[in-house]
Symmetry: C2
Subunit: 711 residues, 2 copies
């Protein structure tokens, strides 16, 4: 059984923002997270099933109507009691049959919506994760004592620590290993920059207002909710009507303001909270606006992404890199989107951390010297064609995907591979991670290719990293607006003969200029047509030698939604297991040491001066080894203390039960070994730094199984 | 010779913001960086000197007037040629004497303004630093291709790397070593939070507008500029007038809008750019305002500091800490101030990174268990009394400063010590770092004590860290506004007998209630008076046992302006030295390895496949050792390549001049040692991690002095 929303819905659900921002640079453009691109095997059958059930239901209802009429007629005509009873029995049998079909339909709908697991169990799982996260302060709704603000969340202590670990690893994995040029630009951005990028004009969602209270809603959300509710709960819906609503869901993100407005009016959709009538849909810009300086004449915005700060610095960065391509710049920082009505918890927020890379390359050479390092990787990929033909994501070898042209070029492929390594090393389950290629209609017209790293969560498949080859669009846009050339040069080792135009074309132009006095000319450096007048040019034939080529670089952009990655990591790391007594379920986050908020806890087994001294000694050596840790000297039972740190995802616990040696426990296996006090910090350092594995530790140190230290 | 602005000026120059934000929590309240609190020895003499020179000048002028009159009279009366010549000679002699006094005055003024070095040489030094910083992309004026925005700067690659090193060390030094609870809250903040904190009402500067063009200026800046200009350049100023202008400078920050306006009108000050008349001064709120959500009814601001996010989370954090005091929470993040007209480069900006700590303690016990770790530290301190009595900052031992009561309490003292260690380990010169205590009139009424870490730069002494004991003010403000109790409990080991009121007071109140029917009562939990009516209370005598004490914790707040610290570090690390040929001055940043943007460069001595292979091998081992580095394979001379990395502050350079061993050069000494290829990464790691010093390396490896590898 699979989700009811068929492939088309999925593919198109990303499109509103793409349409409204068609000419935009918008990394992680689409905070829309309901976009479930599921493998569709089974979906077809489910849809067929649903349709036939809806038809059967309609037939059954009409049989009931007929039989009900018959019963009434028999009664009014004073028919024999037995005859009436027999007719009533038939009627009841029909009603029972209808009820049975209804529950089949309900099951079919629930099953289709539930993927592998039922919708209810996914919700329960999410609730368990979120409860644990909130109770242990992984996150806190911001300004909670003032009843909060939708779409704003704080990272509490363990969340903050995980975030800083993820960012440190990102810096290590991308910036340091690839020698990227990191920059750090302000969030406050003057209007001119975001006019050039297109955000001022086009970074919008369509909104409707409650005509009486003024409350705002996203127009597409209301229509979507209406359709889904009808499809899921209205059993009297005809198969035809159901198909109509499904079609709307499929094309939802393609609808214009007018079309959306007509549908909302047509279905009589009103404000969900008040049932008041709604305004026509109109665009609302998603940027937080402000004013720079006191005069009120310099509008500014809080940046909706970090990338523009890199583009406007291209010239300086290119110079810094010795005027050589390729090179990459990177930025980590806050971005802001004033969502109309954020609704999906930690995944759809108004302020978030982005980590973006802009890798500038010569458009004529997108090979990558280190591609061979990742070419052998195999993971789930979901190319455009497979989506259109209704197939599943499947394992492909990256090298083959590039050589077959599935992935446009080596550099794009290299980053896909690096992103795969980054996410899986963080602890993302490789079987719930896929790279989905954008459909042709999802991509901006200038983009060469685009792949999203999508992670499966209880909300469905979530776009967490976008990896796009955006060609020369962004640099050209800023070049044009600022009149500063954002270009690169290739110096030829030997001068090359060039002709500016083909001879034939030049001769034609000359003739046209003579006869008409002017001519249209496509200026490729401007990317548009200009009118050339006779007195502006002279056309002559000569052979020229050029010593360099001047061009606008292409940019390949991996863009990471850090908060989304962390949320998915929470879901992938969470599990429960029974307590030793079996009377309760205990929560565990199986974070790898790399991201765990604290690497190690130190517990004196019982409250005791000597043990506490040892604990402090160990704490000092852990600090010296750079291992974040915590001492817990409360008198709580050791089992409870283990459970408490398992719930924070602390991978190792040191229990002090003597003054010479201590035990080290691994979180997931619950195995314990005995290690000398002097050695314990270096053992923990080795396993947290990944220099040795827990299996290695098990080989080197004696297993400990004292009952006292057991849970 | 010392600065012309006397102590009073200095002490008061911080006050505008303090006044306008008297009830505010405002860490690093005062981005005003012109506040030069210089040691004043010599100042008195300089002022006396200046006054007597001004008087002498006035006398000389009147002698000149008299003598000039005499000359004219002699001429008109047809006196003897010799007599006229003699009189003219006297007149010229007087004019020469006047010129001499003028230049003495000029020298006196310049000397007073220049501290130890002349104003011109400080400006030249700053220009050399800033030129290097901008040319090597330590920073970039933001949105430069669009001609930038005042007060917004990007960190370019080396600056970004230094910033991330400084923040990583901050996290290590404070958060990890002290087990602080780090949080990460949004920048977008709803109005209610900043109303509670007082920022909406009082976080303002006084502004005047050019009445014709609308251009805005800070009112106090215009008045200050006028006074300084007059004092420095108008030699005809009488000593009395000069004293008047100096008095204005001294009380500038105490002036009300009306007083400022009257002075501006009185002196006929006009708009600097147009000479147009100016409006009356009026307050301008320094927060960037925006709107949360689409309805336009939820005003919000970009936070002016990070601390509020911690205060509103107090209850959860206290719970997370096991309901125990003391504990500290910390936050690193962006803060925003919409300055009216930012003018001091990298020190006065509209968006900046703050790192703030809120350490919550029982107001009855501000001792600190680790105070002994810092008690022996000695450094420059500048207590309130020494400022008032005109003395210099002097070296004090921290333990004594606390035990004598100069520093209010151990916890405040502990943080002062930790801040000292933090700054000096980063590379701040300890002789140009002092801790200045706030004067009584600089502090908010509720504050118990406050010390600023000030760093001397070419702009004077800059407030870079504020360390304040803010008592219970902030938690109380949010408690009141949100109606959520932000309190702590102390559980008594044995119940204690308490009386809610003194018996006498209670009996008086009872009598008042009987006679008047109501009575005023100071409710200490609310911090204000309430009216109690007869039917609201009954007064009886009983002895009650309490099991706990409920109270609002005090907060001690170290607040770090990261950008300012980094800028001062740039100035303290910069020096020049002649090139080997002696034909130019080369720039060097002597960053310690801890903060250096890149730890090591790798140079093949000459362009050569074999050497490049070795360089790549070394690069790999450096990456594995976690050492950030760069390979430079350009054919430039080795001396030029060294100079290039010295200018980035790279502490070590590896030069590949054979395939078996290489040289390692230390930046400041220019010493080189020869090390085996296999060992070189670990040697560099040892010195960059601080496990061994360069002196240790010199002892272990042979010195290299080949001419080829020399600069």
């Amino acid at each position: 059984m699979r989700f009811v929303r068929a492939l088309n819905t999925c593919a198109f659900s990303l499109r509103r923002r793409v349409i409204s921002t068609h000419f935009l640079h918008c990394s992680l453009l689409t905070p829309y997270i309901g976009a479930h691109h599921f493998s569709v095997s089974g979906t077809m059958a489910a849809v067929a099933d649903e349709n036939s059930l809806r038809r059967a239901l309609a037939q059954k209802q009409s049989s009931i109507d007929v039989q009900g009429g018959a019963v009434r007629q028999l009664k009014s005509s004073g028919a024999a009691k037995l005859d009436i009873e027999a007719a009533v029995q038939s009627l009841n049998a029909l009603k029972l049959e209808k009820a049975s079909i209804e529950s089949q339909l309900q099951a079919a709908l629930a099953g289709a919506a539930g993927g592998g697991s039922s919708s209810a169990s996914r919700d329960a799982f999410r609730q368990a994760v979120v409860n644990t996260l909130e109770r242990r302060l992984f996150y806190i709704p911001s300004f909670k004592i003032y009843r909060g603000v939708a779409g704003l969340y704080d990272y509490g202590p363990p969340g903050c620590s995980i975030k800083s670990n993820v960012l440190a690893f990102w810096r290590q994995h991308f910036v340091l290993e690839e020698n990227m040029l990191e920059v750090d630009c302000p969030c406050v951005t003057p209007e001119v920059v975001l006019k050039a990028s297109g955000h001022v004009e086009k970074f919008t969602d369509l909104m409707v207002k409650d005509e009486k209270t003024g409350t705002c809603y996203r127009a597409d959300h209301l229509l979507k909710d209406f359709c889904k509710e009808k499809l899921e709960k209205d059993f009297s819906l005809s198969a035809e009507k159901a198909a109509e609503l499904k079609h709307i869901l499929a094309v939802l993100d393609d609808l214009s303001a007018e079309q959306l407005g007509a549908k909302i009016k047509g279905y009589g959709i009103t404000a969900p909270d008040t049932k008041n009538p709604l305004s026509d849909p109109y665009p609302f810009n998603l940027m937080f606006q402000t004013s720079i300086g006191p005069s009120g004449v310099s509008p500014g915005y809080m940046r909706p992404e970090t990338a523009q700060g890199i583009f406007v610095n291209f010239r300086d960065l290119y110079y810094y890199n010795g005027n050589k391509l390729p090179f990459a710049a990177a930025q980590i920082g806050q971005a802001f989107r004033n969502e109309i009505s954020p609704r999906q918890g930690l995944l759809r927020v108004r302020e978030f951390t982005l980590a973006e890379i802009e890798h500038f390359v010569d458009p004529q050479d997108k090979s990558h010297p280190k591609f061979s390092d990742v070419a052998k990787l195999e993971f789930l990929m979901f190319p455009r064609d497979d989506q259109v033909s209704g197939q599943c994501a499947k394992k492909l070898q990256l090298g083959e995907a590039v050589s077959r042209g599935t992935v446009n070029n080596e550099t794009l492929g290299y980053f896909i591979g690096r992103v795969y390594l980054f996410l899986t090393r963080l602890g993302i389950d490789k079987d719930r991670l896929r790279f989905r290629q954008h459909l042709a209609n999802e991509m901006a017209h200038y983009a060469a290719d685009c792949w999203d790293a999508e992670i499966e969560s209880s909300y469905g498949w979530i776009e967490c990293v976008g990896i796009a080859d955006r060609s020369a669009y962004d640099l050209r846009a800023h070049s044009e607006k600022s009149s500063v050339a954002l270009v690169a040069q290739e110096k030829f080792s030997e001068p090359r003969e060039v002709e500016a135009m083909e001879e034939k074309v030049a001769m034609e132009m000359k003739a046209d200029l003579e006869s008409k006095g002017e001519v249209e000319f496509h200026a490729c450096t401007l990317g548009k047509n200009v009118t050339i007048k006779k007195n502006m040019v002279s056309i002559s034939k000569e052979i020229k030698k050029e010593h360099q080529r001047v061009f606008t670089p292409s940019v390949i952009e991996p863009s990471f939604g850090i908060g989304r990655i962390i949320y998915c990591l929470y879901e992938h790391s969470f599990y429960t297991r029974p307590s030793k007594a079996g009377d309760e379920q205990l929560n565990v986050f199986s974070f790898p040491p790399l991201v765990a908020p604290i690497k190690c806890t130190v517990f004196p087994l019982v409250q005791n001066k000597k043990y506490e001294e040892v604990a402090k000694l160990i704490s000092k050596s852990l600090t010296a080894a750079g291992i974040s840790h915590k001492i817990d000297i409360t008198g709580t039972s050791i089992g409870k203390r283990y459970a408490r740190t398992d719930e924070l995802g602390v991978p190792f616990a040191i229990t002090v039960d003597s003054t010479s040696s201590v035990t080290v426990r691994e979180r997931d296996s619950k195995d314990q070994v005995r290690v000398d006090v002097e050695k314990v910090a270096s053992v923990v350092r080795e396993v947290t730094d990944g220099l040795s594995s827990w299996a290695d530790v098990l080989k080197m140190y004696p297993l400990h199984s004292s009952e006292t230290a057991e849970e």
